[in-house]
Symmetry: D2
Amino acid sequence: MPTDRERAVFEAAIKLGALYHQFVGTPVSPETAASIEKAIESAVSLQPYVTKVKVELDRSVMLENPFGYSEVSGRMFAVTISTRVGDATCTAALRYENGYPMMSIID
Amino acid sequence: MPTDRERAVFEAAIKLGALYHQFVGTPVSPETAASIEKAIESAVSLQPYVTKVKVELDRSVMLENPFGYSEVSGRMFAVTISTRVGDATCTAALRYENGYPMMSIID
Amino acid sequence: MPTDRERAVFEAAIKLGALYHQFVGTPVSPETAASIEKAIESAVSLQPYVTKVKVELDRSVMLENPFGYSEVSGRMFAVTISTRVGDATCTAALRYENGYPMMSIID
Amino acid sequence: MPTDRERAVFEAAIKLGALYHQFVGTPVSPETAASIEKAIESAVSLQPYVTKVKVELDRSVMLENPFGYSEVSGRMFAVTISTRVGDATCTAALRYENGYPMMSIID
């Protein structure tokens, strides 16, 4: 049987993997980024065991294509998610590091 | 060479196919549906040749799973998109009909 | 009422928009690209009014991230789709041009 | 610092969340299911720390829409993933249970 801590870790990671692959490719610009952030946060908040979620999309890497917008990509994400299972908790993050959207346990 | 009308039709359809497959599977509930609708509209608005977009997600078919939420699915969508290329326009829609998320030219 | 030609154009465009947003973000490498191409072709082939589909993912732009793989992105796609509605047909393509995954009617 | 076991759990969960949200909505039929399964397995295999992955899509719930196909949905998935970080391992699964695509640690 997994421990509550292992389950809290497991649940946090599901959400990071899920949100990344759900939203990558979504058209976005600095003007619309807030609505995409809010939608992602609202989606993650519904999922089981989530106690907190913060999503920030880096406007500075929203380079314009010829039609004046960008697409959500790994390099834009700064996400922190907290989960609780029983008395155990986990905080995990998604950050762009060394050319990779790195997901890691931070607490 | 395609006509402007054909291109307006083409551009409207791209957006319908795109939004459906981008957002299907997103966790949603009646409480968060408005933020998902807004995100979809903001994403579509950025795309080329779009002059108008309206997205409504049917709350009445957001059946709760054991964790109390639902996922965006074909049966929820009511979308209308208008495009303009040159002097030509097209309005197209996505509606759930006969068990299928039907996309069609309505003008 | 739309003409058969307009409907053939409409149907081709739906499939291009759909496949792009369905598969962008999928982990891929030159070794696995053929299975992703085949999956995309099999998915598009099922959709209504499609008579032909060819998907090629450009291996030369599958740059390795620190873990040795890449993700399906707009710059990889070369897709051609043909549709038929009544006696009318349409062939449309997705190509990466000028930094943009351009979709266009080619016949 | 997380333990190797926690990291193995974390990595397995990322892949489950990712594949679900990447592939949900993909057109599929019993005839094409094998190519979708293969594509998902090839995508997961590339991701870090994965040692084994098995994806099965339940053909018996691929109900035909009016155009004769279905879409990948939560009720179709039977997935098992194994990861290794250092000397620690984790096996996790995705199964449809009680109307929900349940992800859990099984070893």
